[in-house]
Structure formats: C-alpha cells, structure tokens
C-alpha cells in the first residue's frame, strides 16, 4: 500500500490526512507542536458564520487520532529527506516528551505536583502561566502530558524532587527519554506547514511591547476564547478596556516591511473580533482603521455590513503613531475619506497582523529542493494549485499563499486528488 507523509497538523494537514486515509492510503502525519489543531484551534470563533472553532475542529482532530489509516506523530519534525527512485526516504525526529504516551491517562496528577508553575503558556500567546508538565490545551490531541524541557526544574537545572513521577498512577513519566530519529519510506509528501505571523515589533510606531494596551490580533483571540487565559473575558493588566481601535494591514501591503502582498484573512478576522467585542463588552466603542475592506468571500460582505450596523466604526486611514497618556492610548489617524487628522483616545489598540511564510519550514523546503516565491511561499502550478516544482511533493493551505479556513480545506482536498493521481489510485 502507498504511504504518504503529511507535514503539519493544522486544518489543512488534518483535512488532507483524513481524505487520504479514507481513500485507503497509509498516512503519517508529522506535527512539530505537542497537539494537532494548528492556528485554527487557537481561534475563538470563525467568520462568517461565527461558528465556534473548537466545536467544528475538535471532532476532526479526534478523527485523526482514531483513524486506523493515520499514524500521528506530534512533537516531531522532518530532519532529512532523500529520494530513492520514485520514493522518499525521510528521517523523522520525535522529540522526547518525558511522558510515555502509551501509559499517560491524562489524569492531571503530575500537573498538580509540578514544582514549577510559572512557565509561559505558548498556546495562550504567553498571556498565562502553566506548570512545566502540561497538556497544551484542554482539547489537545493526543490527550497526553509532556514536559517542557526548558522550564522543568529537573531537566533545565537538575534541581527538583520530581514529585510528578511519584504521583503518576501509571508511572508514565520517564526523564531518561531521549529524542528518537528514525527513517521511513514514503511515496508522496504533502506540505501543510502553515504560516507565521508578522512580528509587530518591526513597526515601532505602533508601540507593541511598549504599551500594555497594544495587543496583537492573536492575543485578542486568546482573550476572547472560552479556553483562553481569562475564560473569554477581555482583561488587560487588570483593567477592562471599553474603547478599542483596530489597525488593519499591519505587516501586509507594506513595502517598508518587505511585504507588498495582501494577507487576505485580516480584514475578516478584524470584522469578526470587532463584532465579538461589541457583543461582549458593554457600552463598547470599536473603531477599525483600514485601507480597503477585502470582504471577498461568500457571506463576507454581509458580515462586514453587519459589523457596521452593530456600531463598529470604519475609518479609512492607517494611524501614524500611538502614544500613551495616563491609562489610555492616543492614536493619531488621518481619515482619508473626510481628509481630517484626528486624535482618538482609546483603551486598547489591536494590531491585525499579516501572515508570513513559516520560518521553521524554510529548511524543509530547501531539503526538498522545491521552489518558493520571493516571499518564501511555495510556488505552485496554476493549473493544479497543489503541485510544487518537484514530482510527488504537494502543498496545501497557507504554505503556498494566504488562505482562509474554507480555502485551506478546499486546497487540502485538491491536494488529496493530486496524491491519488501520483500514487496511482
């Protein structure tokens, strides 16, 4: 039976893995994080239906874990690849979790016993803290604990009594575990490596990292989420902001940061976040500063209109600077529609970050010798959008260009068609 390697366990990787496994192929899904779910599982709701992201994604994540045709490797990455005839010999490294997956029952006893409770929780954009032994988020797949080797007092400093191992009822914790590298042969590879977000520190004028009230869109998403650090309440530094200003195209359509391209998702996720704030924060004022509102997909224009009808104020113009005055922020923006410079006083500024090719995947693309565009997205064939420059290697989701969830899903199903053609189903 033909074997397929899927790299990346976000919505695109999950979709293509399930499609291929359903068609009878044997699939190995490699994900670098400790759970699959990718960016989508970090979202509170999705546009334009306002479906809750967890509700629609977690069942698919569980399907991946339960599917007989899928081997799921989390905390893993592709170390090396070489072609052998028509096949690929792939070196995969599985990083040590220090918890034996086959024994862990996710009871959480270790979590309580852990002496280190102050590690940054990367799933929540470092807005909250977690123990060094943890499960990435409540709905993680697989439901297995792992030890963060950087914050674990025993692994990092050799100073801990390892109470976790004592309390574990199944003796699943094993500090002697080591990274394991092995080779496997595949007939085809699908790249679903996703994307990074623009680093807002590059735009100094917006004061990210300097002013507490300046948030990124992903941070806000975690604050809005029921599984987030505040259980869905918008609290910043103990305060409840009431006046919000969104800035769109932060790191997109901007030659100054070498990103002249449009990131395609920010207009809509901003409209979504603006509506959620309107719904959840009493007497809120919400402003959106934009260049063009690109509400291009099905139901998007109507969603954008609904935001305006619910009282979200759209201002055409991107602010030049932000400064802090007391406990609020002053945003200077020229409304190009009325040609007037205004100073607006708000409590929080949200930066709608654009997307970037995944830095972590660059080496993989080089190893596979596939062509990328000047920004670093995988180049594809317009007649077959999942085909890369190399035979047998396909791509879907954000790895080849910015896409929203529905587009990522469609591109993943198309990639499954390409794999079927390649392996001769």
């Amino acid at each position: 039976m033909s074997k397929v390697l899927v790299v990346g366990g976000g919505i695109a990787g999950i979709t293509v893995a399930l499609e291929l496994a359903d068609s009878g192929l044997s699939v190995t899904l490699v994900e670098s994080y400790a759970s699959i779910g990718g960016r989508m599982i970090r979202l509170d709701k999705t546009f334009p239906t306002l479906d809750c992201s967890s509700c629609i994604l977690t069942p698919k994540m569980t399907d991946v874990a339960m599917h007989e045709g899928i081997e799921l490797l989390v905390s893993s990455f592709v170390r090396g690849v070489r072609r052998e005839g028509a096949r690929f010999c792939v070196q995969i490294t599985k990083r040590a979790r220090f918890v034996r997956e086959e024994l862990c029952i996710a009871c959480g006893a270790c979590r309580e016993a852990c002496a280190m409770k102050n590690a940054y929780d990367e799933f929540n954009e470092n807005l909250s803290r977690r123990p060094a032994i943890y499960i990435p988020f409540p709905q993680a797949v697989p439901q297995r604990y792992l030890v963060d080797r950087d914050s674990c007092l025993y692994l990092a400093k050799g100073r801990c009594k390892r109470r976790c191992a004592e309390v574990c009822p199944t003796s699943a914790i094993d500090f002697a575990m080591e990274d394991r590298t092995f080779e496997e042969y595949f007939d085809s590879i699908v790249l679903c490596t996703g994307f990074d977000l623009f680093d807002p520190r590059e735009k100094v004028e917006f004061g990210y990292g300097k002013y507490e009230g300046v948030l990124t869109s992903v941070e806000l998403e975690r604050l809005l989420s029921a599984t987030g650090p505040t259980g869905g309440e918008i609290v910043i530094g103990g305060r409840h902001p009431r006046r919000f200003l969104f800035i769109q195209c932060v790191g997109s359509r901007d030659r100054a940061v070498e990103a002249p391209f449009c990131s395609r998702v920010c207009c809509m996720y901003t409209a979504k976040q603006a509506r959620l704030i309107k719904e959840r924060v009493k007497d809120s004022e919400v402003y959106v500063c934009y260049i063009d509102v690109r509400a291009y997909g099905k139901g998007y224009e109507e969603f954008y209109r609904a935001a305006q009808e619910e009282g979200v104020v759209y201002i055409r113009g991107i602010p030049g600077e932000i400064r802090e005055e007391g406990d609020h922020l002053i945003v200077r923006v020229e409304d190009t529609l009325i040609g007037r410079v205004e100073e607006m006083e708000v409590d929080s500024v949200v930066l709608a970050l654009g997307v970037r090719p995944k830095r972590e995947a660059r080496r993989l693309f080089e190893m596979l010798d596939i062509r990328v565009d000047p920004y670093g997205f995988v180049k594809t064939d317009p007649g077959s959008p999942s085909r890369t420059s190399e035979r047998g290697i396909f791509v879907c989701g954000m790895a080849s260009s910015p896409k929203d969830i529905a587009e990522s899903v469609s591109s993943a199903v198309e990639a499954s068609a390409s794999v079927m053609e390649h392996v001769g189903i």
């Binding site: 999705t46 967890s54 569980t62 709905q139 391209f261 109507e302 529905a406 068609a417 053609e421």
Partner: protein, 559 residues
C-alpha cells in the same frame, strides 16, 4: 432504565446563556438518571472519553447528550457509544445550543426551555431500540453537470480513476466561460488552450460519456444509485450514477438591466468580458478609459448585496491590457474597496499605480454618453467632492450571478440554494465542497464566485471526495426509514404525494404502496399524514413521540 445525561458548555456558547450547573443538578435528582455531568466540550477527546467511561462504569443503557444541534455531532457521539459497547442508536441529542443558548440572553428562560428539551429526550430515550446501519450498494459511476473548467477537471479525474462518468453540458460545446478568455491571469496562457487540452482528454476518454446541448429533466433515487433523466441531442436518455457533481458555473451580471449605464445602447460602453473576448475596444493614442468596479455587486438596490470576488482583478487586468498597448493612455478605475486579494494581485495593483493608472474611490451616480465622449458624474469619496469627467471608453467590471438554470437544477436535485441564488454548502468552512445532500457535490462557481484556479481546484477536489465515497462499492445508511403495514394500507397514496425523496412507490398489482429504503430519509412526513396509521418510521413510533411531548410539557406520560 439507567440513562446518562451529558450537558455540554460548548465553550461559552451554551454556558453563557444557559445555567448548565442547575441543569446538571436537576437531572442528578431524577430516579431514572444514573449519571448527570457537564463539561466544556463533549465533542473533544477528553469529553468523549468521559462519556465512554461513564457508560462502562455505570452500565448506562441510554445516553442523552444536551449540546449543539443533532445535525452536527450525532454521528460522532454514536461512535462513542459503539466504542463503549452500547448500540449507537440508543442515543438522543437535545439541541440546547441552537434552540436555547443562541435564542437570547434570558438565562432563566433558556434554562427552563433546555430543561424541558432534555426531559423530552430523556423520556423518549426509554423508547429507543437497538438498530443496525443498512449496508447499501453504490454504483461506481458519476454524473457531472456542466462542462466548464470545473466540470471538465472533475470528469477527467474520475474517468482516470476508472469510474464511469456522464458529463452533461447545456451549451453546444464544452469549455464554459474560460474558453472565451484571451489570456488567463497570472499565467498568460489563453483560455482556449487551457480548455482544449482538458476537452481533448475528456472527449477521448473511454470512461467519459459527454452530452452537449443537454438538459436535466429529472432525478430519482438517492446517494449510491441516482437515475438521471436527460434531454440530449439523442432524445431522452437515462443514466445511473452513484453521485453527482454540480459544476454549472455562474454568469456575468448583465448590465443591460441597469439602463442608466447605457450598456448595449452606446458602443463606447463595454464590459470586461467584451474587452477580453475580442477587442471591441479600439484605442487611439492618448485614449481615455474609465473602468467601473462593482457593477452588479455590493448593491442592495438591485438585490445583489454580495461581493463577486473576481471583478476587482478583472478590472486590473483590463487596465493592464490598455496600458500594454498604449502606455500613454489615461486609465482611471472607479472603485469602492480595492479587493486585490488573490496571490499576486496586490503586486499588480501596485504596478498599475506606478504606471500611472488612476484609482479613484468613488460612487458613480450618472453615465451620460455625449458625442464628444462619455461623461461620468459622481462623488470622490476621498475628497468628498463631486466630479464630472469625460472618457472615450467606459468598461464595466461586472459581478457574477447564479447560472440561469440554477434554480431549476437545485429543485430537481432537491438541494437548497443560498439567499443569493447560488448552491448552499453543507458547511461553509469545513464542508465547502458538499451540498447538504450526501453524494451531491459543488464545484466551481455554482456555490459562489470563484476564479479559474479555484474552480479547477474545486472540480478536482469534488472528484476526489466523490471517488472516495464510491470506491468501496457500498455505503452505510442510518436505520431510520419508513415501513408500511400491508394490512392497514388502504392505497390512498397520500404518502406517495408528500414524499420529497420519492421513496414511496406504488405497487399497481397489490394496490398498495411500498418504500424504497435506500431513498427514504426517515423524515416521517408520510407517517404524520397517513389516515390509516399504516406507515411509520422504524425507531420513532407513536409511543416515542408521546414521550417526547410529555417531556416538553413536563408531565410524565406513564405516571
């Protein structure tokens, strides 16, 4: 009977508007309830595990899950029951998200309603009987409606995989909209070239039967075995197909409908398609060309509130064409928002700005063709100033509207359209390629405007999905279907008339009806109308309905 009740918070979706803890406590106290739990997400892995463990530990005989609408996760929860060793059909799902939490913010009222819905499910669950899925054979063939770029891509993929394909095109030749395009952005190849290669492969494929100048007349059967009646050049033909791909495309908005644009009356006013298909645009040196965006899109006044997605790029392409031939020409685009979103489009927009194309954010109020030129009047929404400008040519960038026969085909296939008249997807995010009816898939612009690359991709994706659905040679159907008691059936045929799935067949010899179990969806319409109570749904008899009603009224039926 030991019943387990599981109340889902659905993040904050349910929890914020329904008092889930009060519900849990209330049900804990009822005698037939062996366990009552609440949790953030029962659909997640830990949630599923909780249910499974409770079934095993407490020996539950029936399970009631109070969560989102049953159409979302019933299948998933049935699997949980199966894995716990319980028959998967001993499950009832109460919709306390859509029917309570999403209704409003009155927590007390919502909680009261949720309580009754769960009570209703609890009572009804006692009447559930173990059941088995029905295994039904499927035909390994497919029908593709529409021979444009999406339909051709789909047909070719399926034909190559060995499925028998019937491709129906209403026009006299294949190729659809794309065939008429001189040059496709961004590759620059001609539409004719792209299509002719696909067309040649499809026409010469031993597994693909192509019928042009055809029309769908009727459809019978259900997923796995459809029978399509088609009017073709050879008369009426019938084809059997396991599944159907709808690839009927969309058509450009006809600007003749907006008289004030003078399209069709003045030859200086063209559409982007006119320009692309053959040059009716005769440019002189220093020509002045205006391009109007959003014609027939984002316009409530004509009932087209949606964005057509492709027209901003079409406008940019026309601007590019003009600039290529006449770099000195004055080209001005009048737009609302520049939606240059596909890969490479923003760069094209930037390049045109550098080349001197003027982009004016404006609302055009009037088009006046005069001898010396076409006058555009409008308001520049940047400068808040009214303007009057004269052009030699005005090009309308028109949006897309549903295909003429979309409504007719949707009604023959029994699939819904959305409010704009495009085909509705099963789920806009996670199932964008499927209609709500199993085995009927949506490719290309049938479900909403798409560009060429997306249309090809969706055609191929639909084909892959359908191939997987049909490749096993069988499918499993829920065991809910109508059954007729011959003794009681009087032969009045009321049920036959109301059945939307055409699952009820008349047996002339016996003068009684019978049910095509594969076609029956178990909706129960027949059962509710039968004057002799001769037809009923297996697993949903009168006893269960009475229990459900008594739960809603909060009056225990049996006591």
């Amino acid at each position: 009977m030991r019943v387990g009740i599981f109340i889902c918070h659905c993040g904050h979706n349910i929890k914020s508007n329904v008092d889930v803890e009060a519900l849990r406590r209330y049900f804990e106290g009822l005698p037939s309830v062996a366990t009552s739990l609440d949790y953030t997400f029962f659909c997640s892995e830990p949630g599923q595990r909780m249910i499974k463990e409770e079934i095993e530990r407490k020996g539950l005989e029936r399970v009631v899950i109070a969560a989102c609408t049953p159409s979302l996760h019933t299948g998933l929860f049935r699997e949980v029951l199966r894995k716990a060793g319980l028959n998967p059909y001993l499950l009832k799902v109460a919709s306390i998200r859509e029917h309570c939490a999403f209704v409003g913010e009155d927590v007390q009222g919502n909680t009261e309603k949720a309580k009754r819905l769960i009570l209703s499910a609890l009572y009804a669950s006692t009447q559930l009987m173990p059941a088995q899925e029905r295994k039904v054979d499927v035909v390994r063939s497919a029908a593709v409606l529409g021979g444009g770029v999406a339909g051709l891509s789909a047909a070719l993929f399926l034909g190559e995989r060995g499925l028998q394909v019937y491709l129906l095109e209403k026009e006299a030749e294949l190729g659809g909209t794309v065939k008429r395009l001189k040059s496709i952005w961004p590759s620059g190849i001609s539409g004719e070239k792209l299509i002719s290669s696909l067309e040649w492969q499809v026409l010469n494929h031993r597994n693909v039967v192509v019928r042009t100048s055809g029309r769908l007349l009727g459809l019978e059967g259900s997923f796995g075995d459809y029978s399509l009646l088609m009017q073709t050049e050879r008369g009426e033909e019938r084809f059997r197909a396991g599944g159907i791909i709808v690839a009927i495309g969309a058509r450009p908005f006809n600007p003749r409908g907006r008289k004030e644009l003078w399209y069709g009356k003045d030859e200086r006013i063209l559409t982007t398609s006119d320009v692309e298909e053959g040059s009716r645009l005769r440019l002189k040196e220093g020509a002045k060309v205006a391009i109007l965006h959003c014609v027939g899109s984002r316009d409530e006044t004509i009932g087209r509130p949606y964005c057509s997605k492709i027209c901003c790029v079409n406008a940019l392409r026309v601007a590019r064409m003009v600039k290529e031939v006449h770099p000195e020409a004055h080209v001005e685009c009048f737009y609302m928002d520049m939606r240059a979103h596909p890969k490479g489009a923003e760069e094209l927009y930037e390049q045109l700005q550098r080349e001197g194309v003027i982009f004016t954010r404006a609302a055009i109020s009037e088009v006046v063709p005069l001898r010396e030129g076409v006058v555009l009047r409008g308001e520049d929404t940047f400068l808040s100033q009214v303007f009057e400008k004269v052009f030699d040519w005005v090009v309308l960038s028109c949006g897309l509207v549903p295909a003429e026969d979309a409504r007719e085909i949707a009604s023959l296939l029994h699939v819904p359209l959305d409010k704009d008249g495009f085909f509705l997807e099963a789920h806009p995010k996670l199932r964008p390629l499927e209609s709500p009816v199993k085995g009927i898939l949506l490719a290309g612009s049938a479900s909403g405007p798409k560009d060429i690359e997306e249309s090809i991709a969706s055609g191929r994706a639909c084909a892959a999905r359908l191939f997987t659905l049909l490749s096993k040679g069988y499918t499993l159907l829920d065991p809910f279907f109508a059954a007729v008691s011959d003794k009681r059936c009087s032969g009045c045929r009321v049920c036959e008339a109301v059945c939307v799935f055409r699952a009820i067949r008349w047996d002339e010899e016996r003068r009684k009806v019978r049910v095509d179990e594969a076609a029956c969806a178990g909706c129960g319409l027949c059962a509710s109308l039968c004057p002799s109570s001769a037809i009923g749904i297996k697993g949903a008899g009168d006893g269960m309905i009475c229990e459900e009603v008594s739960g809603l009224l909060e009056v225990p039926w049996m006591t």
